[in-house]
């Protein structure tokens, strides 16, 4: 479990996560970790995105719309969307064996479902649109970092979408609801709820939760997330704008 990058909320510990109204890393309760997004960082991929969020380093790439293999998975009415969340072996404390584990298969599934109605798949029947997310350095919140980067990579690839998907988590530490858990808060906290929304709308497209929330805490957490996602969305837009201002370079000669 632990080796799969599993977290276990609510481990007993003497770690004091909140002190003098500040969190262990000095943040306010409603404050995101530093977030930096860059679009178009890879040469071969049709679209790509590099994202740093707290201690997370994530790269997302999109290939497609392209021919769909194996053939029997072709859909005559729409494109197939695939999503692969993958951790580099050296992205975590104890080396992770390469290849998909149960945790990454689950994350890939919920992330794919979050994007399936957002991308206009019906524009590209019989093709495949393939999203790959590589976690190069993992802190807490990699699935949210991944889908946030994936969404920018899809835009960078010119895939038409109803909007950008942006994610953020909130959790509970020392009985306090806070935004965007850091690694220690994740290890020793009481609850975590990763959410992704179609940015600019009220649509929740990804939602998981574990730990312990009363209904009131859930409501608080949701409200924090809503605000957090607004900031994430601004950074996504900034990254895409920067990319397009730089202009599209050199892609014509690539095969």
């Amino acid at each position: 479990m632990k080796k799969e990058g599993e977290k276990k909320m609510g481990m007993k510990s003497d770690v004091q996560l909140i002190k003098d109204g500040k969190r262990i890393d000095g943040r306010n309760f409603d404050e995101l970790r530093p977030l930096k997004i860059e679009a178009g960082v890879l040469h071969r991929a049709d679209g790509s995105c590099y994202l740093e969020w707290g201690g997370n380093k994530v790269i997302a790439a999109v290939y497609g719309p392209r021919e769909c293999f194996p053939r029997h998975e072709q859909d005559p009415l729409k494109a197939r969307l695939t999503y692969r969340y993958n951790m580099a072996p050296f992205s975590v404390e104890d080396r992770k064996r390469p290849g998909p584990d149960r945790r990454s298969i689950e994350i890939s599934k919920v992330s794919r479902q979050a994007l399936e109605r957002v991308v206009f798949l019906e524009y590209f029947p019989r093709t495949s649109i393939d999203v790959f997310v590589e976690i190069l350095q993992a802190d807490a919140g990699t699935r949210i970092a991944g889908i946030t980067a994936a969404s920018v990579a899809l835009a960078d690839a010119g895939i038409p979408m109803r909007g950008l998907v942006a994610g953020c988590a909130a959790g509970k530490v020392d009985d306090t609801v806070v935004l965007d858990l850091g690694k220690e808060e994740d290890n020793y906290g009481q609850a975590d709820m990763p959410v992704a929304m179609l940015a600019g709308t009220d649509e929740v497209v990804l939602m998981q939760m574990d730990g312990d929330f009363s209904k009131e805490e859930f409501d608080q957490a949701f409200e924090l997330i809503r605000k957090g996602i607004k900031q994430v969305y601004e950074e996504q837009k900034r990254a895409l704008k920067e990319k397009y201002e730089k202009g599209i370079e050199g892609d014509i000669n690539d095969q």
Binding site: E106, V110, Q113, L206, Q208, D212, F218, F222
Partner: protein, 262 residues
């Protein structure tokens, strides 16, 4: 499978219209479960087991205990693992082979309910700190699939754990006789809804799952706190949906607990 997909496509619109008008295909209210039957201690070779029939859905959960090394960061705790097999007797669409993403998600959502509610008193499963602890393996064997595997599996797994015994351990050997009951302190209970159009339906049947827009599983502790949630499906939820489902789960939980755990 294409043929099956076409059938669902055809059934979709009339059923959606029915739901829109406030009704379900099988006449249930939106917050009503199908009939539930609980058969405890089904498999004598398991340390604990339970067969759950939820409508026509049947899930058998079995618990085995073995000896293992604790995780380095929890040297004074036993370990839990949950696995699920969608064995091909349960549905024409289940094929033999390693667990696919659906089986993995099922196992992990059930696992989270048990783990995050702190159901099992893991610190009482230590034989020798840092060296030897009990490993609790819950295996979900899906026998008949007629919708809502999440809740049927949750009920089967929790009931199996409630009647699990810890074997004796003497001279480095497990003797499969009762040393004590598995120490538990909580009973997590999950509630799965599908969204069809604007409505949220509790305990979906197969046909409701097949035409669903979205799906949500909410697991509650005995004091009605949330301990696990999992969204499925591709359509979005709004905050009002979430509030409605959580409220419904809290409202019906007392009665359901009585039915399934007593």
């Amino acid at each position: 499978m294409t043929n099956e997909d076409i059938i669902w496509e055809i059934k979709k619109n009339p059923i959606k219209a029915l739901v829109e008008s406030g009704k379900r295909v099988d006449g249930r209210a939106f917050d009503e479960h199908r009939e539930i039957e609980i058969i405890r201690d089904f498999s004598k070779k398991a340390e604990g087991s339970c067969l759950v029939k939820l409508g026509n859905t049947q899930v058998l959960a079995g618990v085995k205990l073995s000896i293992g090394i604790p995780y380095p960061d929890t040297p004074a705790e036993g370990a839990l693992s949950v696995g699920a097999e969608l064995v091909p007797i349960a549905a024409p669409i289940f094929y033999s082979g390693p667990p696919n993403e659906n089986a993995i998600e099922l196992a992990r959502v059930v696992d989270r309910g048990i783990r995050e509610s702190k159901m099992i008193e893991m610190d009482k499963l230590v034989i020798e700190e840092g060296e030897k602890v009990w490993m609790v393996s819950v295996d979900l064997h899906v026998l008949d699939y007629d919708g809502n595997l999440f809740d049927a599996s949750n009920i089967a797994a929790v009931n199996a754990l409630l009647n699990t015994f810890v074997p004796k351990y003497e001279d480095d050997k497990i003797i499969r006789e009762k040393q004590m009951d598995l120490p538990v302190r909580e009973k997590p209970l999950s509630f799965t809804f599908v969204k069809i159009g604007a409505k949220n339906l509790l305990d979906p049947s197969l046909v409701e799952e097949k035409i669903k827009d979205a799906e949500m599983t909410i697991t509650l502790t005995e004091d009605n706190h949330l301990c696990a949630m999992q969204k499925g499906g591709t359509y979005p939820y709004y905050k009002e949906d979430l509030d409605e489902m959580i409220d419904t789960a809290i409202r019906v939980s007392k009665n359901l607990r009585k039915k399934v755990f007593e």
